[in-house]
């Protein structure tokens, strides 16, 4: 059996190398996305894939998230006799927190996994090498359109998530619990500031980067056949989700 110190050292080296490679990949992607050609067709195709094709999932999850938030919020607030604050409570948690985070997690599951699997298969079938040999830089061709699409799609999806979520809260608060529509909506209008909206959108932007970066990276460097691709996909989803939650904390702390 290997000596524990040896094991620790090897693991540390491996983690360092992997992290370095990941950031290098991000850097190369960002640099490539700053200069033409952008292959806009590919970018639109990816926006369609990441954005449009996720609309249904986003709509479904957001309406239930809004509804449960209103239900729980009402239950808690009514203990302190502040039911009137339900609108702002739902809206603020949606806009500042749940909108970006849940959209991020849903998109990781729906589009991120697909990105990792697709690039992984391209890698093991030597299609990425083929691009390389043709003199078409694979990062520019594959990672950049996904990256740009993530930057566009995540904020848009988050806004949709927010709106539908707040409407879901409205359904429960007004239709089910009998609150007046004026109280629910009026409270939102006076409580939500532009800063809250910006915070939420900045988060969405960051998550867009995290998802497309991590998932492209994992697929891009997949190895060893079908098993390697499935491993890449799993670890892309796990790492992307973890990074979303971790970075969420730090962005929140910085933007308070």
């Amino acid at each position: 059996m290997a000596h524990p110190v040896l094991l620790l050292g090897t693991t540390a080296l491996q983690v360092t190398r992997e992290t370095g490679r990941m950031f290098l990949f991000l850097l190369q992607t960002i640099l490539a996305s700053l200069s033409p050609p952008w292959r806009l067709r590919n970018v639109f195709k990816q926006i369609h894939f990441i954005g449009m094709r996720s609309l249904f999932v986003i709509a479904l999850t957001s309406v239930f998230a809004g509804m449960v938030l209103a239900l729980q919020g009402y239950y808690t607030l009514s203990r302190f006799g502040s039911e009137a604050l339900l609108g702002p409570a739902v809206a603020l948690s949606m806009i500042r927190e749940l909108g970006p985070v849940l959209s991020g997690l849903m998109i990781t599951g729906r589009a991120g996994s697909a990105i990792a699997a697709e690039l992984g298969i391209m890698r093991i079938r030597e299609q990425i090498d083929a691009l390389d040999v043709m003199g078409v830089p694979p990062i520019r061709f594959l990672a950049v359109p996904r990256f740009l699409a993530g930057l566009v799609a995540l904020p848009l999806l988050t806004v949709i998530f927010d709106v539908i979520g707040i409407w879901g809260g409205y359904l429960v608060a007004v239709q089910l619990l009998g609150m007046s529509a004026g109280t629910y909506l009026g409270g939102i209008e006076s409580a939500v500031s532009m800063h809250d909206v910006t915070t939420g959108l900045i988060k969405a932007l960051c998550f867009g980067i995290v998802i497309t970066w991590v998932c492209s990276y994992k697929g891009y460097f997949a190895r060893r056949g079908a098993e390697g691709v499935s491993h890449a996909t799993t670890s892309a989803v796990v790492l992307s989700s973890v990074l979303i939650l971790v970075s969420d904390y730090f962005i929140t702390a910085m933007m308070l």
């Binding site: 299609q127 090498d129 083929a130 390389d132 040999v133 043709m134 003199g135 078409v136």
Partner: protein, 288 residues
């Protein structure tokens, strides 16, 4: 009144084979008169490569003659594909040098490497067609992405290339709807379409029936005679391939066992080469 009928394709093919075998004889003569007069375009010197802790290339020295067809042969697993990947810089040697026109490929990166790569095209052993594009778009891909060819010319050239590999009318199919041999031929069309300086083909005839195999040999030879492109062909089509190349390199256990004009290698008295050419199970190479 007598008319001169235009030569039939059969006659053209016969003429092609004759012209080419004449060339090969000349090449052999030139090689034996003065090997130094044969200009190499690609060369490897002392290239070693470990993959997964196993020595795959064990000091390869070879020269690929310019404007000639070179065949690389050797038993399965002898490192042919890995050698080819070194020649385009897809893999980097652990030690040793891969040079294109005397320029070390290992010293290139970024835009320069990209520019060098566009002088090559490579047919991968597995084809490596893009699954998300149909055959037409696959073949058109290098033209669209790396050249400024007009869409109408792309059409003409792609249809021509598909016809050459006997895939006319298959342009709308996707790679997963093709048979193995059709996949290979579509990939071959993609490799030939950009008319690069150097064409590397990893087993262009593997998995094809003997008729199409022969047709592909004719196509490669015809392309060569028209364009004088340097070609490297990995092939298991022994002994047929000896008729279709100027130069042969035999790889064995990660080393170059022999290198020379096709006819010279064909007549070699080396027991390993003889066993390989004749496909005998008994001999110095132990398989079973």
């Amino acid at each position: 009144m007598t008319t001169h009928p235009s030569p039939t394709t059969t006659e053209l093919r016969a003429r092609l084979a004759d012209t080419f075998s004449e060339e090969c004889r000349e090449y052999r003569q030139r090689y034996h008169d003065n090997p130094a007069a044969i200009v190499p375009i690609l060369s490897m010197q002392g290239v070693t490569k470990h993959l997964d802790g196993r020595m795959v290339l064990n000091g390869i020295d070879l020269d690929i003659p310019k404007q000639a067809i070179t065949a690389i042969i050797g038993i399965s697993g002898s490192g042919k594909s890995v050698t080819l990947k070194h020649l385009v810089g897809l893999m980097r040697p652990d030690s040793g040098i891969v040079a294109l026109n005397g320029q070390n490929l290992g010293s290139l990166s970024g835009k320069k490497l990209q520019a060098v790569r566009r002088r090559f095209s490579l047919l991968f052993q597995g084809g490596a067609l893009f699954d998300s594009l149909n055959v037409f778009d696959n073949v058109a891909f290098p033209l669209r992405e790396t050249t400024r060819t007009s869409e109408s010319e792309i059409q003409t050239r792609v249809f021509g290339a598909l016809e050459d590999v006997n895939l006319s009318g298959m342009g709308h199919k996707f790679p997963d709807e093709l048979s193995g041999g059709m996949n290979k031929r579509a990939a071959l069309a993609r490799a030939l379409i950009t008319r690069p300086e150097i064409i590397l083909l990893d087993e262009p005839t593997a998995g094809l029936d003997p008729i199409i195999e022969n047709a592909i040999h004719h196509l490669i030879c015809d392309t060569f005679l028209r364009t004088r492109t340097t070609m490297v062909v990995i092939s298991h089509a022994v002994p047929a391939i000896f008729k279709w190349c100027h130069h042969v390199i035999v790889l064995h256990q990660g080393k170059v066992l022999a290198s020379g004009p096709a006819m010279t290698i064909m007549d070699s008295s080396d027991p390993v080469i003889r066993q390989f050419i004749r496909g005998e199970v008994d001999g110095p190479i132990h398989i079973l």
